[in-house]
């Protein structure tokens, strides 16, 4: 498949869109492909039209895209994650639908909604998107929004770098999105194992899309990790000692450590793959001294810590909500801290369990199998701590608690199936079957997804000033729980019955009942997604009724609940002096928590800048040009990046100053507002009476 490379357009020509396939042959496969591309194009057109019609370009540019404010960057990450999640869930639905129609017969062994090649693209993009462009943006976004507020900091340590990280992640997501319309994505799964993904067997642009999306967004994640770590080490409020930090900050620190030390492994493995593909290196070649096993080794050196990158922020969220919604102090704070840190370090010692069957000696397998089982211990400690936190508390069944309950029930099942897989001899039997697919969905969905959605629900009022609708929130949560169970628990059975993962077709009619159950589950997952977006919409419509200007709708104990909702740009009128763990709770217990500070001073905030946008544009250009071999564009974009940095380095940048008088005025208004609102008891929390000022007499935690 040699194509000519034009000096201007590289390998781009008119044959690369899915519409060409549709013109060539109309069937369910080309219709699905063209339909997805149309959704992308129409979505873009509708978004642009809406922004133009509402005249939002100015505010979007001035208040969001150029803002180095960690809170806004966090929200943008979450929006990116939710948009990508819509695509990921839709793809999951198409895959399940394909498999329910894929029962082959002797006469026609390959059947189903889409072609096998298309199915392979689907599971590859689904995995890539869900890990790198849904889970990661959601958790990084949540940490960005919450971490500085919980630490009593104004912003991240490096606000502009933060913007650049967002830009790089968005550029990577953009590359994956554009692959719907221009060209095809790779078919090697989200791990893209060579030699199948080498140039010999995958000559097209597909694997290159993956490589560049991963390299670019991976760099963004590494920089984010640095930013988190330095913020936690250097930007804590005075008195905020390490053992006074809320647990979410601790898990953020663990995430930061894992991002810093694990992402380089991904960078190395995908850069090696790129060198093999572009320059004919022999790292993973079949012959001539190459060793394809080294790819699996380096990739999973990243891949396993990544699993804990995904889960630990959710553990942080669950620590916060189990305490808040039970009205109790977190049980076993120290043990939770130790457990989190142990998980962070032990997660670097287990990577081989992803390739037990690669052919190494039994002794090597046993060493990593034991390490894998050990890592379950701190996780178990955490589950017990949260249950003990809720024990005898006044638990309110709010949306986050529904997610937490779902997490308790389902995550434990997922964890236990992980222990089963940690045994190499059992792994030999069920590896590469849908048992494994069921296992990792069973930890990632009830863990990461439920945790992130619970966190979004919990902190949403802080960001936008109104609560999310509880009824719809609970409906969404229950739909996700039910949808998950129906979709993925049958896959355990199918795996044990012998259905290989990623299989575009099968010939055993006994699989069909389970397939149909899973298809029903997939419909529920789609409904849950719709319900999630409906929750946002209906809450926005009722935002005056749901408003919580008092800023503390859940009677919380950590610093972020001391400020107004929506939280002002400068977060705190003056940096708080922390005297205890759960400082805001202690202030409440001492009475009169909303006392105004004695003095106000000018606040320095980082000025808005185009830097992140420019770097994002240049790196997107670089990635796209490399995928399509448009060498001039690649060189221009590559040189643009240090150029942009050098130009910024030459200029002296003045911070934005917010005068003390303005801060004092806004703060006075907030405190008068709080005094005028009626405090609400916990029983009334979900009603319209909740205006963000809690009844202090009820604060026991």
């Amino acid at each position: 498949m040699t194509r000519t490379t034009s000096p201007i357009f590289g390998r781009l020509d008119w044959s690369v869109t899915p519409y060409t396939d549709l013109l060539r042959k109309v069937d369910s496969n080309s219709l699905v492909g063209a339909g997805a591309a149309t959704v992308l194009v129409l979505g873009a057109i509708v978004t642009i039209a809406l922004i133009t019609w509402k005249k939002w370009w100015g505010p979007l540019f001035k208040d969001w895209l150029t803002s180095p404010d960690a809170k806004k960057i966090g929200i943008m990450y979450i929006v990116l994650g939710l948009v990508m999640m819509a695509r990921g869930i839709a793809e999951g639905f198409v895959m399940r639908t394909h498999q329910t129609t894929a029962l082959g017969t002797l006469a026609e062994p390959e059947k189903g909604l889409v072609a096998p090649e298309h199915f392979s693209q689907l599971f590859s993009t689904h995995g890539t998107i869900m890990i790198f462009f849904v889970a990661m943006p959601l958790l990084i976004g949540l940490i960005n929004f919450v971490l500085p507020q919980q630490l009593g900091a104004r912003d991240m340590a490096f606000p502009v770098l933060n913007q650049v990280s967002l830009g790089l992640t968005a550029a990577g997501a953009g590359l994956v999105m554009i692959s719907l319309l221009i060209g095809k994505f790779g078919t090697g799964g989200w791990t893209m194992y060579p030699p199948y993904t080498g140039i010999t067997y995958s000559p097209g642009e597909g694997v290159d899309y993956w490589v560049w999306a991963i390299l670019i967004s991976g760099l963004g994640s590494t920089l984010t990790g640095m930013n988190f770590a330095v913020t936690i080490f250097k930007n804590r409020a005075p008195g905020m000692e390490f053992m006074r930090m809320p647990l979410f900050c601790w898990t953020s620190l663990c995430v930061a450590i894992m991002l810093i030390y694990a992402m380089p492994a991904l960078t190395v493995s995908s850069a090696m793959l790129a060198l093999d593909r572009y320059a004919g290196f022999r790292f993973f070649a079949n012959d001539g001294g190459g060793n394809m096993m080294n790819y699996a080794n380096i990739f999973w050196m990243f891949g396993h810590p990544e699993v804990y990158i995904l889960i630990l922020p959710a553990f942080g969220v669950f620590s916060e909500i189990s305490s808040t919604f039970s009205g109790k102090k977190l049980y076993g704070y120290t043990s939770l801290v130790i457990a989190s840190m142990s998980i962070a370090v032990i997660s670097f010692t287990v990577w081989l369990h992803h390739f037990f069957t690669m052919g190494q000696s039994a002794g090597v397998n046993i060493a990593f199998g034991i390490a894998t089982m050990i890592i379950a211990i701190p996780t178990g400690v955490k589950i017990y701590d949260w249950m003990a936190t809720m024990w005898r508390g006044r638990v309110r069944l709010t949306t986050p608690i529904v997610y937490l309950t779902g997490f308790f029930l389902l995550f434990v099942i997922g964890g236990l199936s992980g222990i089963i897989l940690a045994n190499p001899s059992i792994d030999y039997q069920v590896h590469n079957t849908t048992f494994l697919v069921a296992h990792f969905h069973n930890v990632i969905i009830p863990g990461t997804l439920f945790g992130m959605l619970a966190g979004i629900h919990y902190w949403y009022p802080k960001a936008f000033g109104y609560r999310l609708d509880e009824t719809w929130g609970r409906r969404t949560a229950l739909l996700f729980v039910a949808g998950f169970m129906l979709t993925f628990l049958p896959l355990y059975v199918l795996g044990l019955m012998g259905l290989p993962r990623r299989s575009p077709t099968f010939q055993n009619p006994a699989f069909m009942p389970w397939m149909i159950v899973a298809e029903v589950g997939a419909c529920l997952m789609l409904a849950a997604l719709a319900s999630l977006f409906w929750t946002f919409r209906t809450s926005f419509k009722n935002r005056t009724k749901l408003a919580v200007p008092g800023g503390d709708p859940w009677n919380g104990a950590t610093l972020e609940w001391s400020t107004p909702a929506p939280v002002p740009e400068w977060t705190f009128p003056c940096i708080p002096e922390v005297t205890a763990r759960d400082d805001w709770g202690e202030t409440k217990r001492a009475g009169d928590p909303w006392r105004a500070p004695d003095t106000y001073s000018d606040i320095e905030m980082p000025a808005n800048t185009l830097h992140g946008l420019l770097i994002a544009a240049a790196s997107f250009g670089l990635g796209f040009a490399m995928v399509w071999h448009i060498w001039w564009l690649a060189i221009v974009s590559f040189l643009a990046i240090p150029g942009i940095m050098a130009v910024r380095g030459m200029r002296e940048i003045e911070p934005k100053i917010i005068p003390a008088s303005q801060v004092r005025e806004e703060d006075r208004k907030f405190r008068e507002r709080v005094a005028s609102l009626t405090p609400v008891t916990r029983a009334d929390e979900a009603s319209e009476r909740n205006q963000g000022v809690p009844d202090l007499s009820e604060f026991a935690g």
């Binding site: 490096f158 640095m226 810093i260 190395v268 290196f281 080294n294 380095g649 002296e652």
Partner: protein, 208 residues
Amino acid sequence: MSDNTLYPGLNLGDSHGEAHVGAETTVFGFWVFVMSDLIIFGILFAAYASYLDPLGLAGAPGPKDLFDIRSVAIQTGLLLLGGTAYGGVSLSVKYNCSRARVLGWLAVCAALGAGFLFFEIKDFVSQAGEGGVPQASGWLSSYWALVGLHGVHVSSGIVWIIAMMGQIVWRGIDDAVKIRLSMLGVFWHFLDLVWIGIFSFVFLVPLA
């Protein structure tokens, strides 16, 4: 904030006020970045070691055919001198010496780095001429990737030095420039550190 416990390393000393405090966060952040970079090098070292066997060499030219020990010694000397010369930059900034002196030391560092690169590229060219191209074997791929990545780092270090010289001429040695010079120092010394690993484990050990 004349607190002696603040950034004492490559640092600016107490008499620099704001820059000293700012340096604490920024330079620590840069250290974290460098550590992330260290992991990249570490994995490449491990890959190099794992390709260094008859299977990875695959009959292509090996260490004994390709490595020129004299050139490696010259490169090592140049880089060590270059690293030490950065001490001149750090001390002249710390003790408020003239702008020309800082620029001079930076130029010395860049020149020594460029000399290193000259010999490294010369080696690469002659190795390629002897059939030691990265496409020839897994071991050669890992050798070119590891040593080449270090070379790319040295080149970007030189570009950074030139950019800093531009900034010193353009805006003088202000606080931001001082902090950046500290970060550049960490980077430049780090390259020396990686080179110790390269000349010992990539060049000397396979020849021993």
